[in-house]
């Protein structure tokens, strides 16, 4: 029997859900793998009481989100977090770097307090146990389908954990560090074929910090290349502000 899948959005820009619809050639095949129990973006209907797989997009920024997640964890056998927002806190977590409460005033002035139960943005895994992560801003839809199908089969995600430089080398890019520009590839989790670097833009760390990253060594590399070692940390805030900083 096809597993019942619910796609649930928290604080996000829906980009990862859109990416799922963006695999036009295979969308129908992919939908054939599952019984789509809930997808607010594409279909009418309410979040059902029972489903097997919860796919979560978005960062946790309100008390409602926390409640939704606790319920999802109770209901679903498998929880998959997709996209930087859900995996690392992503761009939303950038708002949490300094004085989160003041930001409300900056945007809304003294207006009515509508942002009920708001919290400093954080990743899904800080609230519930997450079984599979699909990192990236946005996700790569093929990677999502691979992880989803492996989750359904009960397999490990099979995703590499190492930093990005290796895959960047296979693309024959001239290293940004050698061109005097900061790049986060040397500490960012690989798996994206170094797309940004290949298209002329340094890695910005959207896939999160590689569990194998050697941050102190990377700071030294920056210094060696004439960059400010702390620039590494500053750049990392972009998608990883909710991380624990390694000294």
């Amino acid at each position: 029997m096809a597993p019942r899948v619910a796609i649930i959005g928290l604080a996000s820009d829906f980009g990862c859900q859109v990416q799922v619809t963006n695999m036009e050639d295979h969308l129908l095949d992919v939908l054939g793998l599952m019984d789509l129990a809930y997808w607010q973006l594409a279909s009418s209907g309410h979040l059902p009481e029972e489903y097997d797989v919860a796919v979560i997009e978005g960062a946790v920024t309100t008390a409602d989100h926390v409640a939704t997640l606790l319920k999802a964890r109770e209901t679903a056998a498998v929880v998959i977090a997709i996209g930087s927002c859900a995996v690392t806190g992503g761009i939303p977590a950038l708002a949490g770097t300094v004085d989160y409460d003041a930001r409300y005033g900056v945007v809304y002035g003294d207006g009515a307090a509508v942002a009920r139960g708001r919290q400093v943005p954080k990743p899904v895994s800080s609230v519930i146990k997450v079984d599979y992560h699909v990192p990236g801003c946005p996700i790569d839809p093929t990677e999502f389908v691979t992880v989803l199908s492996r989750a359904i089969m009960g397999l490990k995600d099979d995703m590499p954990q190492d930093p990005m430089c290796a895959i960047c080398k296979t693309q024959e890019n001239v290293c940004f560090l050698d061109r005097g520009r900061a790049c986060l590839g040397l500490v960012t989790r690989t798996g994206c074929t170094a797309k940004c670097v290949t298209l002329g833009r340094p890695c910005t760390g959207c896939r999160g910090i590689s569990p194998e990253a050697n941050i102190p060594a990377a700071r030294l590399v920056y210094a060696e290349k004439g960059l400010d070692p702390l620039e590494l940390d500053r750049l990392f805030d972009l998608y990883n502000a909710a991380r624990e900083v390694v000294v």
Partner: protein, 420 residues
């Protein structure tokens, strides 16, 4: 008093709830509660470097990210006084149209069409009307492939940077894309015909209509803001002087007014203001559909999106030809980082999008402001809902709800965008 709520209206981008208050069978109030969580983008960019702004703001919306990226780039360029090359501007226009193709196709087929055929989603259509679903996917895919060709991926462009592009598509790839776009015109015309065949309620909005206009082009990347009823044209970068935003109690998105009127932005206002600038097939389609611009029927917005699809397919093929024939570069020229402020506007698929930033001497952002199309539309949408609800109050509850949802979806609202 009874209250009717439709929580998490489906098939729109973001989370919103319709609340209708009835007093002895008469509609007394209608609200669109936007419960989408605020992410505070305007304060988030503060303290970040100028070249990160477009990366950050493109995450306001995963559906029209190319538009946010470009509008913020233009604002930063305005602050630094950077003029981009003609080639860059043309490539950027193509980029915007890629977004149009994918956005309009998604809205029309995935979000709106199920309403008209009485289905919860587009997926069952794959069984009953595979040709329609395949056509939808073809248009959407061409749009995505065009944005990918230029920006590196369909969502959150990689290559669009301050001053130009970090990489440019090859001539061969562009040429192949032009061929696909020409072939797509037939699909877009069929789309317009399909939507014309759906019955739309006779309903007129009372709001003003705003869109960018240019003297010699259908304005999407540049132009001045024009008001349909008031008849004025003003510099878009002065948007703060003609658009007033206010915080309302029930919505995390602010509401906007122009003068003291609510107003509408999007395909309908654009066609109302620039019908004469449409490409031939698009103009022909518009005429054939019997839509007399200006129209005030909000529901016609869907058909106008379809007409814009025709225009986009034709126009992009022409732009690619022009691009292949012209010289110039898109790699950014060196520029000086200096303190300054800049504002910019462009037409996103859902309407005019404004971004403004102040930057200090070190290139660090000190202030930011964004008004999204949906935020501009919300006041008007609520006004429409208030006007429309009493006229359908007699319908059974299910039909009443569906009709209200249709009205909401006619605006193609993007709620996470509107809150941002």
């Amino acid at each position: 008093m009874s209250t009717l709520t439709v929580e998490h209206v489906a098939r729109i981008e973001g989370h919103g709830t319709i609340t209708v208050e009835m007093e002895s069978g008469v509609v007394s109030d209608v609200r669109m509660d936007i419960i989408e969580a605020a992410r505070f983008f305007e304060s988030m960019v503060v303290g970040r470097r100028f070249d990160e702004v477009s990366l950050i703001t493109s995450r306001i919306c995963g559906i029209c990210s190319p538009n946010h990226a470009l509008t913020s780039l233009k604002a930063v360029e305005a602050a630094f006084g950077i003029e981009v090359s003609e080639r860059t501007a043309l490539l950027r226009k193509l980029f915007v149209y890629g977004s149009y193709l994918q956005n309009h196709a998604t809205h029309l087929y995935v979000f709106a069409a199920p309403d008209f055929v009485g289905l919860p989603s587009v997926f069952p259509l794959a069984q009953t009307h595979p040709d329609i679903v395949e056509r939808a996917l073809r248009i959407k895919k061409t749009g995505n492939d065009l944005t990918t060709l230029i920006g590196g991926r369909p969502v959150h462009p990689i290559t669009a940077v301050v001053g130009g592009f970090s990489a440019e598509p090859s001539a061969a790839d562009l040429r192949a894309m032009a061929v696909r776009l020409e072939a797509l015109v037939a699909d877009t015309v069929a789309t317009a015909e399909l939507f014309q065949s759906f019955e739309v309620p006779a309903f007129e909005t009372s709001g003003e209509m705003l869109a960018l206009v240019e003297d010699d082009d259908y304005a999407i990347y540049d132009g001045e803001t024009a008001a349909l009823d008031a008849g004025w044209r003003r510099s878009a970068s002065e948007y703060r002087q003609f658009i007033a935003e206010k915080v309302v109690g029930h919505s995390n998105a602010k509401h906007s007014t122009v003068g003291d009127r609510t107003f509408m932005v999007g395909s309908l206002p654009r066609i109302n203001l620039s019908a004469g600038k449409l490409m031939p097939r698009a103009a022909e389609t518009l005429a054939k559909l019997g839509i007399a611009a200006p129209s005030r029927n909000t529901f016609v917005n869907n058909v106008c999106q379809a007409v814009e699809l025709v225009d986009a397919a034709e126009r992009c093929a022409m732009y690619i030809d022009r691009l292949l024939g012209m010289g110039g570069a898109t790699l950014p020229e060196p520029f000086t980082i200096k303190a300054g402020s800049g504002a910019a506007a462009s037409e996103a698929p859902r309407g005019t999008l404004y971004h403004a930033y102040s930057i200090d001497d070190d290139g660090i952002v000190v202030g930011g402001d964004v008004i999204t199309p949906t935020a501009q539309n919300l006041g008007n949408l609520e006004a429409d809902m208030r006007a429309y609800a009493p006229t359908i109050a007699h319908l059974p509850k299910d039909e009443f709800i569906l009709s209200m949802e249709k009205l909401v979806r006619a605006y193609d609202p993007c709620l996470s965008c509107s809150v941002h």
